[in-house]
């Protein structure tokens, strides 16, 4: 696993590179949790982000990489003015972007449940068409003010 962090003065970000082992999912969650806590995100928001990243990564590990440790997934997290942006990049064959569009729960089968959860938990989920080799999913979780978090205002 590789880790790199950057503070450009505008926004703080970090990047993780992991292999296709499910054992690494908890490491990813731990990093995101610390990052989210540093920005005052609530435990619910952190849970939502962690579960969403977990679902996308586990999907790649199982269905594209078949748990191959040598395959790479790159997770980039950036704190932006209005929220946290997470990019999950893989190097598997191109996927059908419609897989990541929000669908009804009734239409879901098998691993579709994970993708459904991502759509429900994140404010924005999109497939990056601009990536040549592999796939990239971009997710956004908007910042909720502390007042909103604590008092529901």
């Amino acid at each position: 696993m590789k880790y790199s962090g950057e503070n450009s003065g505008k926004s703080l970000s970090f990047k993780l590179e992991i292999g296709g082992s499910p054992e690494l999912l908890k490491v990813v969650r731990a990093c995101i949790s610390e990052f989210g806590l540093a920005y005052g995100m609530s435990s619910n928001e952190i849970y939502d982000i962690n579960l969403s990243v977990n679902e996308i990564c586990a999907n790649i590990m199982e269905h594209d990489y078949h748990w191959d440790l040598e395959q790479k997934i790159v997770i980039s997290v950036e704190n932006q003015a209005d929220g946290l942006e997470i990019r999950v990049r893989d190097f598997a064959p191109k996927k059908d972007p419609s897989l990541f569009q929000s669908r009804n729960l009734e239409e879901m089968e098998g691993s579709g449940l994970g993708i459904f959860l991502v759509g429900e938990l994140m404010d924005e989920v999109r497939y990056n068409d601009g990536v040549k080799n592999g796939n990239e999913i971009i997710m956004k979780k908007n910042h909720v003010s502390k007042m909103e978090n604590e008092y529901g205002i």
Binding site: S21, P22, L25, K26, E55, A58, S111, L113
Partner: protein, 111 residues
């Protein structure tokens, strides 16, 4: 993931703890299968100590419930709280299971 298994009369209470994800899902599956294969068809999953679970864990609980129902038994949930409960509600799987606020109530519901 760690777990406790206790027998209360003819009901088996299974209590996993910690985080359940793709790394330990085979373990969850094996424990439930073993309980079931030992002839137990009245099972309660005490979720009070589960701090995190993903869709693979939901999938195992659903497939276990289907299997146990085929043998005229059932798997009931107890102590769903916080984000784990939220995930069950969000996916509407809460409607698929019988869920109780405590293990005692879940066990009593069998009698």
């Amino acid at each position: 993931m760690e777990y406790d298994v206790q027998k209360q009369g003819d009901v088996v209470v299974f209590a996993p703890s910690g985080e359940i994800d793709a790394s330990n899902i085979p373990e969850l599956q094996n424990v439930i299968s073993r309980i079931f294969q030992e002839g137990n068809v009245k099972i309660v999953a005490d979720m009070s100590r589960v701090s995190y679970m993903d869709s693979s864990a939901l999938g195992v609980l659903v497939s276990s419930l289907k299997e146990i129902r085929r043998q005229q038994g059932t798997l009931k949930l107890a102590n769903l709280t916080g984000n784990v409960e939220r995930i069950f509600k969000l996916t509407r799987l809460i409607n698929f299971f019988e869920a109780y606020p405590s293990t005692e109530q879940a066990v009593l519901s069998f009698h």
